[in-house]
């Protein structure tokens, strides 16, 4: 599981920082999460192949999370993209993108699918044989979702010693991985649990930005491998959190602790601070495993 931060600062793009966008690679799938202005340039800087992006998840329709989307869609067009593109985001996203394409007299040569979200409950928005993706309803000034990306590890691990003991042929291995029992030539049935170990626990990544402090997300993100949680403010600005519906680093850490995640990545820093190191120290007073997102940073989990 690899996370590349393209941008992780709040509000306006600046010469040195970019608004929210990140790329998650999980089970060899690549997902783009949010798409602030300048995302396509950040993709180039981080040498991410445009053609690998087939699914884009937009948390909410504030500019610092989606003003780069229409440009990216247009660039895909100019690059003669052929593969389908799926965009998941709040209701309204389709109208605003299509209006802009229409005004510029542009037509995509690829299929562009919009999956508009309006539910206030967590729902599955994507599922294939390797990954399942659910929304995490967040509490912000406009309709907002985080996204939970979970590996699907259906396959059990082979107990090679036991399999060799019973002289089982290779062609049955796939059946065993999927939980099947084996009938030997002499008629004996070997139950699957004698031939396998439990699968590796599924890894998961929870993206939560933007949101006010909200414990109701804890059951959804519980035991996640990695939680990215917004931390717009330091404690000195805690009085701004409810009005703006953002969090402090310490509040993010409290959610991480309550949800028993393995690792917390902080981001969505207000640009008022000269350095982001204090976000780490303030969060560490609550939860030990803190990483700081920063533009261009890559994390492997």
């Amino acid at each position: 599981m690899k996370l590349t931060i393209l941008g992780c600062y709040a509000a306006t793009p600046r010469t040195i920082t970019n608004p929210t966008s990140q790329v998650l690679e999980i089970k060899n799938r690549m997902f783009l999460i949010d798409c602030g202005e300048g995302t396509q340039v950040q993709l180039r800087k981080n040498k991410i192949k445009f053609s690998r992006i087939e699914h884009i998840f937009i948390s909410h329709l504030h500019g610092d999370h989606f003003y780069g989307l229409v440009g990216l869609i247009s660039t895909f067009m100019l690059l003669n993209r052929q593969t389908d593109l799926h965009v998941y985001g709040p209701k309204g996203i389709k109208e605003v993108i299509l209006l802009q394409l229409r005004l510029s007299n542009s037509y995509t040569g690829y299929n562009l699918y919009f999956h508009e979200l309006e539910s206030k409950e967590s729902e599955v928005v994507f599922e294939d044989e390797r990954v399942i993706i659910k929304t995490i309803p967040l509490r912000h000034r406009v309709y907002t979702n985080g996204f939970l990306f979970q590996e699907k590890n259906r396959e059990r691990k082979l107990n090679i010693d036991a399999i060799l003991n019973h002289d089982i042929e290779t062609c049955y291995y796939q059946k065993i991985k999927y939980g099947g029992d084996i009938t030997l030539e002499d008629g004996r049935v070997i139950p699957n649990e004698k031939l396998t170990f439990d699968p590796e626990p599924s890894r998961s990544y929870a993206f939560c930005s933007d949101t006010a402090y909200d414990e109701s997300i804890v059951p959804i993100i519980e035991n996640a491998t990695v939680l990215y949680h917004e931390s717009t403010f330091l404690e000195s600005e805690e009085h701004l959190t409810e009005k703006t519906m953002h969090c402090t680093a310490k509040q993010a850490a409290t959610i991480a602790k309550k949800a028993n995640v393995e690792q917390l990545v902080l981001g969505h820093y207000s640009t008022r601070y000269d350095s982001i190191e204090r976000f780490k120290s303030e969060a560490e007073s609550v939860f030990p495993n803190i990483l700081l997102a920063d533009d261009g940073r890559e994390f492997e989990f």
Copy 2:
């Protein structure tokens, strides 16, 4: 008259080049022309004060000329702008900007005026006591205008020797500058032409991008001090000009020559070329005074 190029490359933004945007300072007024993605960051890089921008001119609704506008308008909001902002551009620009502000539940604290254009004839879109701005209808794949910025030099130059000869008091100088005759105490009338010289010729700046080769603009831009004309292609790609409705450097130079402008600035280069120097040499075979725009470059005229 000062021209700052924020971006001058065609199509998609890249790590090293930006789509079209430029700032013209003329008679102490500042005008932003086009606003591709990333313009607000380019404004910051070039240390241009956001608050000085009160009028934004958009040539057409292709992404590389206006996808940065909504972000800039939002940033003005976050910076608590109070002064009015005027946006001039093709019909449709108002709907697309307001839709995005509505979706993000945002309201500008300043007055935002849209001046939507749909005329196919040149028309005056702005005029005050110092500057007059007219559209230059261009021939492109969507409705497009260039813009002609002209100084208004109404004031005649004082002939100080003649004025002192007649013992005329300082309080009359303004009247003389505006073309008034003077009646002396002995009743003699001194006609204005004895007291003044003709005004300095007005300087003007014509912005023409994007457009196919189109001689019908020549009468509008005739004798301009500076012409910025798109030159997307070199001669080797001339076969692409009619289909894409763009120009070669040589075609731009031909327009400059026919319009008898003083200076031609080339820009809107296709990103297929590694270097822009050949645009200059190809254009110079037709017209001598060629300057190459490039991102971050400033010109004083």
